[in-house]
């Protein structure tokens, strides 16, 4: 494993004790922000196999701006809440063993893949709504966490007020951009100005997950057992999470009538969370999301520029970085609307 200075089999013994034995290691191919390895080991001869996840930055630096320490902090602190997350096992920055800092967490039994969910056959409609509600239940849990009491604001910059949420969010994602920026991007200047002049008031100041939905959460028997990928966590308007929600609010029509979609999902969410979130805020954060896509696309471009990029960053720093600009321009009327089928292409995976 490229994260270590010594063979993984030796590291397993070092970490989990004499008699621990490496069974298998697999790198997760989809993730492009950080490196994720799945490792199976046997703690002692005859014992049941355990699965863990190794997380680290890419060799040339992470595609996203937040630190690995922050992600580790999120898992550790979330372990004190009732939000389902994998338990953190350890942080390791010992130069004797690791090529760069990493942390290890448990890998819970389950899968992020839900083949029936993406099947458009109407016989799966009820199932898709059930999965959607399960996910909304867990988002509501996150959004009602007492972040102040648990000290999440030790790491995540909290807004001063509900009115300040959008400005705080934009300033937070842009702060590292101004540090690493290697080329001027007029679209960024236009986007920030447009967004700040139209900032909505948040219905509540909540802990937010960042990227969520299909591909991010681990399911077992139709229930979420772990919410993963907290690298974009923030404190602010819960609408930001709905704008980062991947696939889990499908628009479903039956006999010409809408039986599920964003408005119904928001009504369900308002009922279970008590947070009066409206779609206008969600639509606003879709535009912020496009701005953020430029930020991490440019971050990947910076890593390529420095010369230690992973091939995936090569892609993020080119096509994805461009699409962030194109989408933002399209959303605020700087260019004509873009062809949305481009995004479907991005989600295809090599088998």
């Amino acid at each position: 494993m490229e994260l270590l200075k010594r063979p993984l089999s030796e590291y397993i013994v070092h970490r989990f004790g004499k008699g621990a034995e490496l069974i298998s290691e697999t790198r997760f191919t989809r993730g492009s922000s950080r490196v994720t390895w799945f490792v199976d080991y046997r703690p002692s001869p005859g014992a049941a196999v355990r699965s863990v996840v190794f997380r680290s930055d890419l060799k040339g630096g992470s595609t996203i701006s937040s630190s690995l320490e922050q992600e580790h902090f999120m898992y550790e602190r979330l372990g004190r809440t009732n939000v389902p997350v994998a338990k953190v096992i350890c942080w390791d920055d010992d130069p004797e063993w690791v090529a760069r800092p990493l942390f290890i967490r448990e890998k819970l039994e389950g899968s992020w893949e839900l083949p029936d969910f993406v099947n458009p056959d109407p016989k799966f409609d009820e199932y898709r709504i059930q999965i959607s509600k399960e996910h909304l239940d867990k988002l509501a849990l996150i959004h009602t966490v007492d972040w102040k009491a648990l000290g999440f604001d030790e790491r995540l910059k909290a807004p001063d007020s509900r009115e300040d949420c959008a400005h705080n969010f934009i300033n937070t994602i842009m702060a590292p951009f101004w540090e690493f920026q290697v080329e001027p991007v007029p679209m960024v200047q236009i986007g920030i100005d447009w967004l700040k002049k139209r900032a909505p008031i948040a219905p509540r100041i909540s802990l937010c997950k960042g990227t969520n939905g299909l591909g991010e959460e681990v399911f077992n028997n139709h229930k979420i057992v772990a919410m993963s990928d907290w690298e974009e966590a923030s404190i602010g308007d819960p609408a930001a999470d709905f704008a980062s929600l991947q696939n889990f609010i499908p628009e479903i029509n039956k006999d010409g009538k809408n039986i599920w979609g964003i408005e119904k999902a928001l009504a369900y969410y308002r009922d279970i969370s008590g947070i009066p979130l409206v779609n206008e805020n969600v639509q606003y954060y879709f535009i912020v999301r496009a701005l953020n896509t430029i930020v991490y696309g440019q971050k990947a471009a910076t890593v390529i520029h420095k010369g230690l990029a992973d091939i995936r960053q090569g892609w993020t720093g080119t096509e994805v970085a461009f699409l962030g600009k194109r989408l933002l321009a399209s959303m605020i009327g700087v260019t004509p609307a873009m062809d949305s089928s481009w995004f479907a292409e991005l989600n295809e995976t090599i088998s």
Binding site: R27, P184, I190
Partner: protein, 167 residues
Amino acid sequence: MKPMLIPTVGETIRCIRDSLADVIAPQLSTQTLRSSMGSAIQLLHYVEWRVEDEGQMLYDEMKYLRGLFAEILAFADKRHDMATLAAAIRQTLDTKRDPDVYPSLKILAGEVGQMRQHVCEALLLVQATGDTESERLRESLHRYTGWQIVQEEKLMTAAFRGRGPRR
């Protein structure tokens, strides 16, 4: 006219890409390897298109920006708060390229980068004011930005679209 230095850079990249896609990729045994190879092949398409088109794209943008700068200068010369920007733009426009040095893509990109920086600075200044004249300039700055993105889209579409999964 017959081209010289056959094969061209673009043709050579295409040869490498075809070998990777047709000979090596099918032999890769894990999804991790196939995924990395898929990304690499996509990026070779991108490089191929950039080699062919980037130089002209940069020239087109410089031409557009020279026109836009005339508009910015006409506006800036009436305002004290834009004197520094106006001086910087004039310096950029007055800078002559060394005729003995080949205008490589790196040199051209550096020049366009400098010009885009002036656009960003002009945007900041007009965003801070709201009168009719600055609104007109803001519209021109937005029009340039939209035009530039659409130009870039042509290259990105040719390089990436319809070529299957990237990862």
